[in-house]
Symmetry: C2
Amino acid sequence: MPATPHLEKHFTATEVVRDVVIGMSDGLTVPFALAAGLSAAVSSTAIIVTAGLAEVAAGAIAMGLGGYLAARTDAEHYASEAAREGQEIDHLRDREVHEVEGILRNYGLQGEPLRTVVAAITSDRQRWIDFMMRFELGIEKPDPKRALTSALTIGGAYLVGGLVPLVPYMLTRDIATALKVSVITTGVTLLVFGGVKGHFTGVNKGRAALQTLVVGGLAACAAFALARAFG
Amino acid sequence: MPATPHLEKHFTATEVVRDVVIGMSDGLTVPFALAAGLSAAVSSTAIIVTAGLAEVAAGAIAMGLGGYLAARTDAEHYASEAAREGQEIDHLRDREVHEVEGILRNYGLQGEPLRTVVAAITSDRQRWIDFMMRFELGIEKPDPKRALTSALTIGGAYLVGGLVPLVPYMLTRDIATALKVSVITTGVTLLVFGGVKGHFTGVNKGRAALQTLVVGGLAACAAFALARAFG
């Protein structure tokens, strides 16, 4: 796979940040919204804590294992697509050569230079496959070690994020007080997390912080309204 | 952006499938696990339905809006990286030319053909940026219309998936019966969904079906054990 060390480093960091963002976004939002919603419908913080912890455990496992399987599936998807490209190169050689030419023409190559480059790429089967994977299908080769790291990162981030809104309900039996404290602490955490997320993804920090708060707030309001209507 | 119509079609289908998989995987798993967990801790199906619906509403909004913002962030990330590449081309031209040469050497180019290709790519600023984005950073240009579709697909899939395990609790007041029916109907749905997911991602259908069932089952068992311990 033609790739500089710089590229791989860049990519791994992005993926870890992406996993933390995936896990913590939902972890901060859904258990928070569930606890807020149940505050409108039940009369005991014990039920809210029980439901919240059950949700956090289920969510962390579902998202963590889901991330593990998704990473594994990505790796298998890459392998099966690469095998298909290899078969096409073996059995539909002319068509694949035309595809390489078409791709390179888009980069402004023509005439003799085009023929030279096509000859260079198609002279090595593995290099040809790598080229088609990146150019025709736009797929990066996944790191086989990503699956486990991805699972633990997503699941752990969900767990950490999910406990933030629940702690107030563990510390008091007064639902109204717990709800207020949970809204404030989770709101501040969402703002900070959104800002950090913005920093890593290279978008405006203030806007990212507000967006994250709005998502959590809207989810909590919907859960609250629904729980009040049905509770 | 050099891309054949075939590539774009391939890619869009993959992304829609991916969004449905993201939404429905969690939608089938987490509300199911929450309802199963609460079955061990509370004495009324009304509380389970209320908590379940609050969770489904919160989850659908959080995941849908999260998907919307993630797609928007991808688009902004691409734009900011492309702008940076553009600046590097303007101000660090020699270094960027060396990078193009290095990348093409990995594809077996050298000597006069290499110089010709480098000259062709670097003769057009936009083409040069496109080349660096795909080759150095490995980033595809995101479709600007993806964000809204992605949001509705993920949120809708979560909603549909989340209602499956809750319906039994709406139809009877007997928690043990509701739990049994929920486990069976959700189990069958997870198997079918896993098989369909396997079909679209090109991995073994039977294994994908079993994996999906195991994730849902483990999440539900963890939620059940935790809720029984705390409830």
